[in-house]
Symmetry: C2
Subunit: 480 residues, 2 copies
Amino acid sequence: MRLTVDNINQHIVAAKYAVRGELAVKSEEYRAKIAAGDAADLPFEHVISANIGNPQQLDQKPLTFFRQVASILENPQLLQSEEALVQHLGYKTDVIERAKWLLSKVGSVGAYSASTGVPAIRESVAKFIERRDGFPADPSKIYLSAGASSGVNTLLHTICANPNTGILIPIPQYPLYTATLALLNAKAVPYLLDESKNWGTDLEIIRASYDKAVEEGTDVRCIVIINPGNPTGASLPEEDIRAVLEFANEKNLVVMADEVYQTNVFVGKFHSFKAVLRRLQEENPGKFDGLELASLHSISKGMVGECGHRGGYFELVNFDPEVEANIYKFISIMLCSPVIGQCIVELMVNPPKEGEPSYELYQKEYNGIFEGLRERATALHKAFAEMEGVECAAPQGSMYLFPTITLPEKAAEAAAAEGRKPDEFYCMRLLEATGICVVPGAGFGQKEGTLHFRTTFLAPGTEWVGSIVKFHQEFLDKYR
Amino acid sequence: MRLTVDNINQHIVAAKYAVRGELAVKSEEYRAKIAAGDAADLPFEHVISANIGNPQQLDQKPLTFFRQVASILENPQLLQSEEALVQHLGYKTDVIERAKWLLSKVGSVGAYSASTGVPAIRESVAKFIERRDGFPADPSKIYLSAGASSGVNTLLHTICANPNTGILIPIPQYPLYTATLALLNAKAVPYLLDESKNWGTDLEIIRASYDKAVEEGTDVRCIVIINPGNPTGASLPEEDIRAVLEFANEKNLVVMADEVYQTNVFVGKFHSFKAVLRRLQEENPGKFDGLELASLHSISKGMVGECGHRGGYFELVNFDPEVEANIYKFISIMLCSPVIGQCIVELMVNPPKEGEPSYELYQKEYNGIFEGLRERATALHKAFAEMEGVECAAPQGSMYLFPTITLPEKAAEAAAAEGRKPDEFYCMRLLEATGICVVPGAGFGQKEGTLHFRTTFLAPGTEWVGSIVKFHQEFLDKYR
């Protein structure tokens, strides 16, 4: 019997991943049409991919120091002409020193590394965490991964023991979580974030979700928190994090902290789960010593934005050594994460320091990207504030806004006639009219009766923001 | 309840992956000890990692053309100083042209690509397959992957529908297959390769394995072939491939052809499953039109040896479009394979051509690596031929030899006393005595009552071969 959609793995068939779903595919078709000069019938000249946090596809330039080092790692023969690098190609001496140091630790970037990553890079990550948090970190508990996605995949694979395993997942969420749980045939236990409080966590809601799942017989083992939030853009205050840790400790839940947007914070300060846990441990000797925490980071986001290099790490706190041995084995089967991506992790956690030759340019580029993101977030938020039937929390962090949209009843009817949810229908029309690709709220989960879409604020310029405003008004006029 | 080895995913606990198992971990401990200058008590000065096909960890240098192009892809600012690249750094003009072309197709290597890979690179792969096979290839059926391992993972995830799904796997095999099937809770249906015929496939054995599995109620859906063989080093003649395709067609099995060693062939010629299938189709119009074939390739092996870059692809022939849509979705969840690895796939399938400025050096490096591998394979084979109780087929292909070893009864008793299989015991003593890490045959599967180990022939020099000979004699003397 040939493979058909009915006889292959039904967990893949059941999984949903809207970020690269129908809308994204259609937008790529438009892009190809435009590239082929075959776009006379389209009402727009460019496709704007606001569906995915992919900074370097849009305006964001890579950080010069990172890419200069990477160029030497790819071609160490360049070191035979150091003078030419410095005099003719503008490489600073600290670029050359760092490349030499990495090569001495990595060997060739074309060789497999140890399964968990190059030991010296894991040490750099541990030192970074120590500086960030003010508490020690153990390099042997750092696992380098192919982006944070691969780390999430590893951790969920490990924790999900059977179809009855439940994982508390924020709603709205980045769909990697529900998609992976669908593949693993485990249960997502959704807890709603509180839109009225800037999409913060509400412990009463979490507790109610947990209790309901346990009542139904689900074996809830872990709580996922995404901070800063995706798709919400929320940046959690320390008290929310404390409350989650208290609750996880009470219920013996593994805490999985997705902290890939930790440098994309516009309001307040980023608090890592690890630091808050350590503070709780200091304040309450012994009480939290059984709590298991996994926190994830990535080179794909922040001012680094090196998605295509697939680099990241996760740190494990307080995991059982036999469990870690099985995590090691799971990772080993795929051999290792991309080694040049591992090197970029090292550069991210150990960038040029004040006084070093590359510092000034690095700082200028880094701040320029940060300010650019903030400006675009603010401009987009301002546009949303002026749109009829659109409400949107002020941008706090990450790369996204997630406005609520209120659509006329006739639009919902037209959507139903097409077999779509109203927000999917809205986003499809937006793409067709403007070339702008966003993701409907349905792709992340949303409170029943509400509609949203997620857009990145990475695209340059303001013209596209104007296109959204214009489309929205026309859409309302049509279906009113 | 905290995570313990008893309550996590038991399919991970059950999976076995010896290539990076206890011996590999111990060898890394030795390596760290030596690096720390703390090796006075060790009877050797170096660790030789002959356990894994990792060419650039050992003697193999990266191909200059590939890495020069990659250095520009990492730092496109180098193109602002083309003259300096050519005059001071020895870059040829075709390096610069290729880098420009790739950048025009890829954008930044720091951006996510389309889930299945950069379209222009998929087109290059299709053209390569056409040149190799003499039959057309469709770029839309090429999926770029993070090494072949990731492709195998995708395909097995798709095919394995439930615990009753069976996949025919050669024994001995590369343990990625059995490990992934263990994770998926599906059934490996082993078929023995025929050591007496240079580890070729024997259709009667395959048929008997299939029949037995079907009798037991297993839903056999796919047959895996590794050609050239890992760990066996076999290079299949065309008639073996034809027989497998005939059988798969008869039984409606998906054929998964792992062809990552396709350029590591010392004896005869590599025949791709795709080309042989197309020939069968020409000879038998209509008969094979329902046969599904997936063939995999990688940048990790051959003369390229870029394991650390995690690049590869698979080509699908005759898969149902709805099944392909689900494969696309599965891949999308992990976003895309490393983009610089995708670029190296492009260089592998489209290397410098005769008459182009980089051709001469490329050809010299390529041939040098090929000849070096052949020489070392031959030297190692010669040593094995002279060792008492060791039998080894002549090297035909891939990067491995897989000798049979006959050990004294007392050695088996000593192994049992340690709770080890005899070949594991032998390999552990070899590592402790010489620093040479090989993988016991038990890690790949072997015919009952036989013992083997797998060694790569990548390590430079002949001293380590002498160490194996010396150890073996002492081992025999001790347990005789």
